[in-house]
Symmetry: C2
Subunit: 332 residues, 2 copies
């Protein structure tokens, strides 16, 4: 891990905060070399993804440093999950703004340490610099898959079923709650905490992704919003998708809100920050999908069908088509 | 390559500018998937490095976009060179400031394209976001080495010779020239252009690094300054280094400046931005080093010896020890 534009005092806190995160990874070379080393077993392929977060753009300036770090790591792990990969390590580049004191940096590193333990990975290397602008973090996550088994966005064919893991819209509602945009008293304190937790701490569906190798025909993670991401899948696969809105799985915390305001469902399926997996599979694998759901103790819900054509079409409970826009949807 | 905080217009230019950079790399999946795939042949190890550049901190706001992009790529390739690795691909995260228009972004991508051809690599994936702050770029470079042959900073032993490739101080003088800090008329226009070129466009010594596998006992690239980097090598290797300042190789453009101001040599060996390789090898390999220099048509100069002890000690032509500080050196 090199260091530029930093004072030697900062170098101390960085070494103190980050070197322990690399200690379990022999190839990190204690962050003392020009680069890191990683072994990829014969028969496996490396899977690589890289995301950037900017303060004030991708997270709130008021967010706790450990939560920022953990969300950064988890969103990248979610990309690995979408490809069916097992995590292998990560590199981190941090650009600290003038207001980042030692305590902020240490809490950021503490968040990473906590998630490293949860996900069984460690730091391999990176860079740390100063910026006069907003805090900016980029993370490169590395994973591995048996050669040729990576899940892809292309591969869905007409007649298949569209599934989604977990529940949709909680991250969006969490952000609404954190920014004071939910009607006063609309959710209980417990539900608000659950929703905010879903916004701050995505749950990368790593076990599901790996279990879906050779099962799902196409897969991605839901980060931009279910409708937008199914749109990506349909575009790369060259198919259309019919999405049944009443089948979209909602959490117990979200359901009272949509019962009070049914139009809210449209915002939940376009809001993003879900980090669930959406995937397609042949109809005759329904039993296998059910078994996987039960094995992983994770709900998996059929929400649509793959059809000939292009794009995502939404249908309400009555079978009427709805059109999505940023503000919600309108009936034809 | 995902995209957040961007308008769809920006998405167009990004797709137009960056997707072609990935077309030669099947594992980039046309930047359409959640992550990229990379094969690592059996018997090889992956080498990974990641650097960040912030406008106004690591490059000048007035620097041409293609030169910024190429320097970003080349400084990372220099880290691969220092490990003896052959480049395999890269991931890129870009945070565009409000003043980055389509033309700026296209020129940035054009710079990458030019260097991809020169170094035989391609884009694998990454992320592109907006920032209200200064332009910030991070690049993760991937390379490969036969297992167990990576060059490291540790490994130097007393009695060995310390070598450096190319010439030292040109990048520092180039920055001085670009920022108007060289005395008027001190260098010719041709020499100024050469020095500025050395600052803008490091020459990662990839062929040398690979050739030094199983030859050099320790190696790194000179980015922080020759004295500081030899200090890193000595610290990790647990040895001392005697550096003979009159043996430090200077370019034809730098030599007139040091003849006019002999104290300048101290700034050249502490200035940084050289991106040459510094390495150690047993004295009986001197002939082999000479053969490598001749084979690669690249000067390699013995500048010091590895000794018992710790730290870097500098000696002038008369054999008197000199002490370095940021401003230059003083005699004991």
């Amino acid at each position: 891990m090199t260091k530029t534009g930093s004072t030697s005092g900062e170098f101390d806190i960085i070494r103190q905060a980050f070197a322990p995160l690399a200690s379990a990874m022999p190839g990190a070379l204690d962050l003392l070399d020009d680069a890191a080393l990683l072994d990829v077993p014969a028969g496996e392929q490396l899977v690589l993804t890289k995301d950037a977060l900017v303060a004030g753009v991708h997270f709130l300036e008021t967010d706790a440093p450990d939560l920022v770090a953990r969300k950064l790591l988890r969103t990248n792990l979610s990309d690995l999950a979408a490809m069916g990969a097992a995590p292998a390590g990560y590199l981190l580049a941090t650009a600290w703004s003038p207001d980042c004191d030692d305590a902020w940096i240490q809490r950021f590193a503490d968040g990473l340490r906590q998630d490293q333990e949860e996900f069984g990975i460690a730091l391999l290397g990176g860079d740390t610099v100063k910026t006069p602008g907003p805090k900016t973090f980029t993370l490169t996550a590395l994973g591995r898959v048996p050669r040729g088994t990576a899940l892809r966005r292309g591969g869905a064919t007409a007649g298949e079923t569209v599934y989604v893991s977990g529940t949709i819209g909680d991250g969006f509602l969490g952000l609404m709650s954190l920014t004071g945009k939910l009607p006063a008293g609309a959710v209980s304190k417990t539900d608000a905490e659950y929703l905010e937790g879903r916004y701050h701490l995505p749950r990368p569906r790593l076990a599901l992704g790996q279990r879906l190798r050779n099962v799902a025909s196409a897969c991605l993670d839901v980060s931009d919003g279910l409708v937008a991401d199914l749109g990506h899948l349909s575009e790369v696969s060259g198919v259309g998708i019919n999405l049944y809105l009443d089948q979209v799985p909602l959490s117990d915390a979200a359901r009272p809100l949509t019962e009070a305001d049914p139009a809210l469902v449209a915002r939940l399926v376009t809001g993003g920050d879900d980090y669930e997996l959406a995937f397609t599979a042949p109809a005759d694998l329904a039993g296998e999908i059910e078994a996987i759901s039960s094995e992983l103790n994770l709900s998996i819900t059929a929400v649509g069908t793959v059809v000939e054509g292009a794009g995502v079409r939404g249908f309400d409970k009555s079978g009427a088509e709805v059109v999505f826009d940023r503000a919600g949807w309108t009936h034809f």
